[in-house]
Every structure is written in structure tokens, then in C-alpha cells.
């Protein structure tokens, strides 16, 4: 008798658990039915520029991006300044267009140096989730720039070229890191014994502070800098804020130019808060579908 009661209890427990577990079981069955399609990482960075330099991101097919980049700084020892906000202002107006999902073309004009630049960006590898083979994203970047203020006499001597292999990985949903080996070739040098070819390495990161705000920083180190004048590595610390079709990028930096070869190679001042060294930057990026 005692055994029978125990037995009935056991049965009721068994039936009870088998019923209550059922609905969850269906979800478990479904989980195993997901096809093994690659899951790409989205938004390693959100803009095509990390802050001052290029990021691995590009624009999708048919998307046009308009960007206005501004740099403001004061002149050192300028006692009689009457300027509003800052002594100097330089702006770059640029367009970017996605020919395909992987291939983007772009170009722009910078006011102060009268520099025209054009570039191609190709997204070679996209990082995939839980993939040992595709653990990072790789984008190739090639630009050419024409410096209208250059003292050289021929067109070709005013040209410079920058090639970059941008490698980035989204480590966590909030944190991404980018390394950018860079090669710069200048057609002309100020002094003959200065090198035409330069190597640099860029490192940059993004930390997502909130859903629409991220902290970014970048640094470029030139392995063989220009010998005829003192130059410093390009540095930026900034905040990116994005909503809908607009992204605003604010940065504190020591770079005044916005074209790759110029700011990586020819930043004449270190980063500190003194007049002439401290540059405030502000990019407005509009995306039109």
C-alpha cells in the first residue's frame, strides 16, 4: 500500500514535469534548427571616419554621405587677436558614395590648404561572430591628394598618395579596436635628401558609452618622419554622437589638416593645451539614402 502511494506520486511528478517542460523544449528544438549562416558583426564603428582618420566602415550601395569637417585653433603669441572663437579655421567638404556594398568612392576639398583629395575604399573581410577564421574586419584604402598651396611648379609634384590596410575587431558590443598600417608616398619633398616614402602605423578605438554616444581615440606613429622639420604623431580624443541620418564627431586633437598624408606626416605641433597646439575639431556627417 505504502509502495503504491509512492508509485502514484512518482507518476504524477513525471507527468507534471513532462508537461511543464514541453513549451521550453520546443524553443530548444528550434535553436538547433537555425541554419549555419555567417553572423556578421554590425557597427564595429559607426562612421567612415573613426575621428580624424579612416575607419573600416564604408557606405552601403547607393548611399551618399556628405561631410563637413572643421578645425579651429589659436595662433601662439597672438596678443592682438580680434577673432571670434578661434584665430584660425579650416574646413573640409567631402562626399562619399557606395558603388557597391563593399566598394566606396569619396573626395573632398580643404579650405585652408586648398587641397583636393579623392579615395577608394574596399571592404575585403567582414568580421563574423564566433569565427576563428574571420576574427577581424579588413578594409583597403587608397587616396590621392593635390595640394594647391604647394610651392612645387608641376601638377604631379603637388601630389601625394596614402595606402592603408585598416584592420579592426569588435571585441565586445561596446569596444572595438583598429590598427592601420600606412604607407605614404609624396611625389615631391621640400629638400632633396628627404624621403619620398614613409611608413606609419595608426591605432584607434571606440568605446560605446551609451546607445548613441561613443568615446573614440586615435594615434598615428610615423616610423621614418620627415627630417627637415619637426613633426609629431597625430592624436585625437573625441566623442561621436549619432542619431538617425546625422553623426556629429567632436574631437580634441593636434592635427589641423584633414587629408591623410598631411595630418599623418606633417603635423607640426605636439598635443597639449597651449595656443597653436590645441585644435578643436567638429565633423558633421549626413547620410542620404
Amino acid at each position: 500500500m505504502k509502495n503504491n502511494i509512492f508509485f502514484l506520486l512518482l507518476i504524477s511528478v513525471l507527468i507534471g514535469t513532462s508537461v511543464s517542460v514541453k513549451a521550453q523544449d520546443l524553443l530548444k528544438i528550434i535553436d538547433e534548427e537555425y541554419p549555419n549562416t555567417p553572423q556578421y558583426e554590425i557597427a564595429t564603428f559607426k562612421a567612415t571616419r573613426l575621428s580624424i582618420g579612416q575607419s573600416i566602415e564604408n557606405r552601403k550601395k547607393g548611399v551618399l554621405q556628405l561631410m563637413v569637417m572643421n578645425r579651429y585653433w589659436n595662433l601662439p603669441n597672438n596678443v592682438q587677436t580680434q577673432s571670434f572663437v578661434a584665430d584660425k579655421w579650416s574646413a573640409r567638404f567631402g562626399l562619399e558614395y557606395g558603388l557597391t556594398d563593399k566598394f566606396t568612392i569619396g573626395g573632398g576639398w580643404t579650405s585652408l590648404e586648398d587641397t583636393y583629395d579623392g579615395y577608394l575604399k574596399y571592404r575585403l573581410i567582414r568580421q563574423q561572430k564566433n569565427s576563428k577564421k574571420h576574427f577581424a574586419s579588413v578594409t583597403l584604402f587608397q587616396n590621392a591628394s593635390y595640394n594647391g598651396n604647394s610651392l612645387e611648379d608641376t601638377f604631379s609634384k603637388k601630389l601625394a598618395f596614402t595606402s592603408q590596410v585598416l584592420i579592426a575587431r569588435k571585441f565586445t558590443p561596446n569596444f572595438s579596436l583598429q590598427i592601420a598600417p600606412t604607407f605614404i608616398y609624396r611625389n615631391a619633398t621640400a629638400v632633396n635628401n628627404d624621403s619620398n616614402s614613409h611608413f606609419a602605423i595608426g591605432i584607434g578605438g571606440r568605446y560605446k558609452l551609451a546607445n548613441h554616444v561613443s568615446l573614440v581615440s586615435e594615434y598615428y606613429h610615423v616610423t621614418n618622419p620627415i627630417t627637415t622639420k619637426d613633426t609629431y604623431g597625430a592624436f585625437a580624443l573625441g566623442v561621436n554622437w549619432d542619431v538617425r541620418f546625422l553623426m556629429l564627431q567632436f574631437q580634441m586633437t593636434n592635427t589641423r589638416s584633414m587629408v591623410e598624408d598631411a595630418f599623418i606626416l606633417q603635423t607640426p605641433n605636439n598635443f597639449n593645451t597651449e595656443d597653436g597646439n590645441f585644435v578643436f575639431g567638429f565633423n558633421a556627417v549626413f547620410t542620404l539614402n
Binding site: 513549451a23 554590425i42 557606405r59 558590443p173 539614402n289
Partner: protein
């Protein structure tokens, strides 16, 4: 000894009973959502939604990857995944529940209530959805629509975007089922 054999017998019947159940699966179910405001209309579609119905219990489960939603504008896709749904942290949305009074032998369409738990961003909500179940000579389909209140799932929308995103999102689904074989 007798009792032990009886127990084994009971176990095996229980197990065989549960594995014999008739299940159907939809592997390319469609779920789409719409946000209508005077400022902007947003819509997105997911064509890779999974769903299983167990006919022995009338239980249903639905599961989808949030990053499989396709938008007209690529930037919206980025914002949806990165800033609103946070699909890195919460990759899936699921529903599990029961279709009440479902009679699969009945030919043609029947309107029923599906009662269960909707889970988005790890937030579970009990909901009831009016569904139309159709048996067309042994091929089954399930369609319906329902509304999601954005606030219920802790999706933060900054004030500057508020006029562009509806507070209530209307959602539609179509599933076509095939026999499920393991």
C-alpha cells in the same frame, strides 16, 4: 523485481509517447513590423523566422534573429541593431505558448487565440494574439498580426527621434509549415 520492470515499462512508454508527437516546422517564416508616424514610416521584414507547432499539445514556439530584419535604408539597420534592439546582447526574439482550441483535422481556416510569452531583449511579456490557422489539404499555415508597445521592452528612444518612431509597432506574421522530422 516486478515493480522495477513495470517502472522501466512506464518510462519507455512515456518517452515513446513524447517522441511520437506530430510536429510541424516553418523554416522561412515571415515577420514584418511597421512604425507609422506623421514624420516617417519605417518598415522591416525578416524572412528567416523559425516556428514549430506540436499538434499533440497545440503548443507553438517561434524564434528569430533580430539582425535578420531587412530595412530599406542601411543606416536604419545599423541603428536598429546597435542602438535600439542591441542585438549583440539580445540576439533573439521568441514566443512560446499554446493555440487554444485548435482542431487540426478541420479543413479550411479557423480563427483562434494563441496565448503565451513574448520575449524581446530578455524581457518576457504575457500576450494573447488572434491567429488564423489554415489546413489546406494537409498543408498548414498560420497568419496574424499584433501590436508591440515599445516601452514594454525597455527600448530607449532619445527625445529628438521620438516624433519619428511610433510608440506602438504593428507586427505581422506568416508561417507555412512542413512536417518536422528529426
Amino acid at each position: 523485481m516486478n515493480k522495477i520492470s513495470f517502472l522501466i515499462f512506464l518510462f519507455s512508454t512515456l518517452i515513446s509517447f513524447s517522441s511520437k508527437t506530430d510536429k510541424v516546422i516553418a523554416r522561412q517564416g515571415q515577420v514584418s513590423f511597421f512604425s507609422y508616424t506623421t514624420a516617417e514610416n519605417i518598415e522591416a521584414k525578416n524572412n528567416q523566422v523559425l516556428s514549430i507547432i506540436d499538434f499533440s499539445t497545440n503548443e507553438i514556439a517561434i524564434s528569430m534573429l533580430m539582425n535578420a530584419f531587412v530595412f530599406k535604408k542601411s543606416l536604419m539597420y545599423n541603428h536598429f541593431n546597435d542602438s535600439y534592439i542591441e542585438s549583440d546582447l539580445y540576439p533573439k526574439a521568441t514566443f512560446n505558448g499554446k493555440i487554444i482550441d485548435l482542431d487540426i483535422t478541420k479543413e479550411g481556416a479557423q480563427t483562434r487565440i494563441a496565448k503565451g510569452t513574448l520575449n524581446i531583449r530578455n524581457i518576457a511579456k504575457e500576450i494573447e494574439i488572434k491567429v488564423i490557422f489554415e489546413n489546406k489539404k494537409g498543408s498548414y499555415s498560420l497568419t496574424g498580426d499584433f501590436e508591440i508597445i515599445v516601452k514594454d521592452f525597455d527600448i530607449k528612444i532619445p527625445p529628438i527621434v521620438a516624433p519619428n518612431i511610433a510608440e506602438i509597432i504593428s507586427t505581422k506574421f506568416i508561417f507555412e509549415y512542413q512536417p518536422y522530422e528529426k
